[in-house]
């Protein structure tokens, strides 16, 4: 019997013995099977700033896990060795959802991140791990492209504290041509996360000639301010040529500075630059009194003046701070 996977908007129709586009949801004996469940290919402790999550428990380590598989096929994928590979070709570790909180606590982590590939396609594992982590008093973060249907997102979000969502472009044509996806569901996932009380941070990888025009950068910043709020952190990230997009140069620093200026003009309070070491590009300032609150260098927090989620001037800051 042929099955249809209704997890993501692709709605893959899967023949017996075949997998969906994500490579990890397989039709085995007329059942839809998650073949990577409980078998992450990467388990590491990262600084939370690496996600990048700048408004989520700054300066802490986060247990970061990922299995093989992704429902997008971006030509510029940075993690293509695990996201665009079949599970048969990637070694994995056994790690049941019950063991995840214990492992996080063993290494002093306060939170767990589902990251590196696409946590929404290893949905059942993400859901079960996040429920177990919550029960153990830990917090959960997903680092995602946000390409999922609404019903499964509504079930997952109550267990998620922070979401780092990658809006790759504000152009549907870009999503079709570069990522083999579409823009609408991603924007819906961002809005739904915000509505359901998840801390949202947005990343945009700025690729020369493809999504670096003033109009597109302004459109993104305007959309974030209007639909997610002006205090939503927006990270402009530097592109490096790799995978199937080696024909373009790395993003010039001037482009990233221009993107930041445009986003600030559109009223966004927290705009950061990533994948590039520029002075003052990763620091957090109070939107009210402009005081320096968090000074960062690389993935390190040098100073943190936020007390109980507030600036010394009394302004409450968007984020999860303790």
């Amino acid at each position: 019997m042929t099955l249809q996977c209704n997890l993501c908007p692709k709605g893959c129709v899967i023949e017996h013995g075949q997998s969906g586009e994500c490579r990890i949801r397989v039709n085995i004996d007329e059942r839809l099977v998650a073949v990577t469940y409980g078998h992450p290919c990467s388990v590491h402790i990262d600084p939370v700033e690496k996600k990048p999550m700048f408004h989520f428990l700054p300066g802490t380590g986060i247990l970061s896990i990922a299995t093989v598989g992704c429902n997008l096929h971006c030509k510029n994928c940075q993690n293509w060795e695990i996201s665009q590979e079949n599970p048969e070709n990637v070694s994995a570790e056994e790690l049941s959802p019950e063991r995840v909180p214990a492992l996080a606590k063993e290494y002093g982590c306060q939170s767990v991140a589902y990251t590196y590939t696409e946590p929404l396609v290893y949905y059942e594992y993400t859901l079960d791990c996040s429920m177990r982590a919550r029960e153990a008093g830990l917090r959960n973060v997903i680092v995602t492209a946000g390409y999922l249907n609404e019903e499964p997102l509504r079930k997952l979000y109550p267990h998620i504290d922070g979401a780092q969502i990658d809006i790759k472009s504000m152009s549907d044509a870009f999503y079709r041509d570069i990522c083999d996806a579409s823009l609408g569901p991603v924007l819906n996932a961002c809005v739904l996360a915000r509505e359901m009380g998840v801390l949202v941070e947005i990343t945009n990888l700025v690729i020369p000639t493809l999504n670096d025009s003033d109009e597109e950068l302004r459109k993104l910043a305007r959309w974030v301010a209007a639909h997610l709020g002006a205090e939503t952190p927006l990270h402009f990230s530097r592109f490096f040529p790799q995978y199937r997009m080696k024909n373009l140069p790395p993003t010039p620093s001037e482009t990233l500075v221009r993107a930041r200026d445009i986003a600030r003009e559109e009223g966004l309070c927290h705009v950061y630059i990533g994948n590039l070491s520029l002075p003052d590009s990763e620091n957090t300032y109070c939107p009210a009194c402009k005081q320096l609150l968090i000074e960062r260098r690389g993935f390190s927090v040098l100073t943190n003046n936020i007390k109980y989620g507030k600036c010394p001037c009394g302004k409450e800051l968007y984020g999860i701070w303790q």
Partner: protein
């Protein structure tokens, strides 16, 4: 010996209908399943991982991942 002509190779109307009907109906079992596609949102966990397995080591966990994100 009878001479073989095109007229001898022709099939009658009943034969033609049989062949045509068989040709139309034959692929139906192959595609019958497509009309009854069942949709699922959630998958069941696999009993075993299809690729190679390795042990979690403390050394690996302690170092930050070299993957982006």
């Amino acid at each position: 010996m009878r001479e073989r002509t095109l007229r001898h190779m022709a099939i009658n109307r009943r034969g033609f209908l049989r062949v045509t009907t068989a040709a139309i109906l034959a692929p139906i079992p192959r595609f019958a399943g497509h009309g009854m596609v069942r949709g699922y949102v959630e998958a069941v966990p696999a009993r075993r991982y299809p690729g190679p397995l390795r042990k979690i080591t403390e050394k690996e966990v302690k170092i930050p991942g070299h993957w982006a994100g």
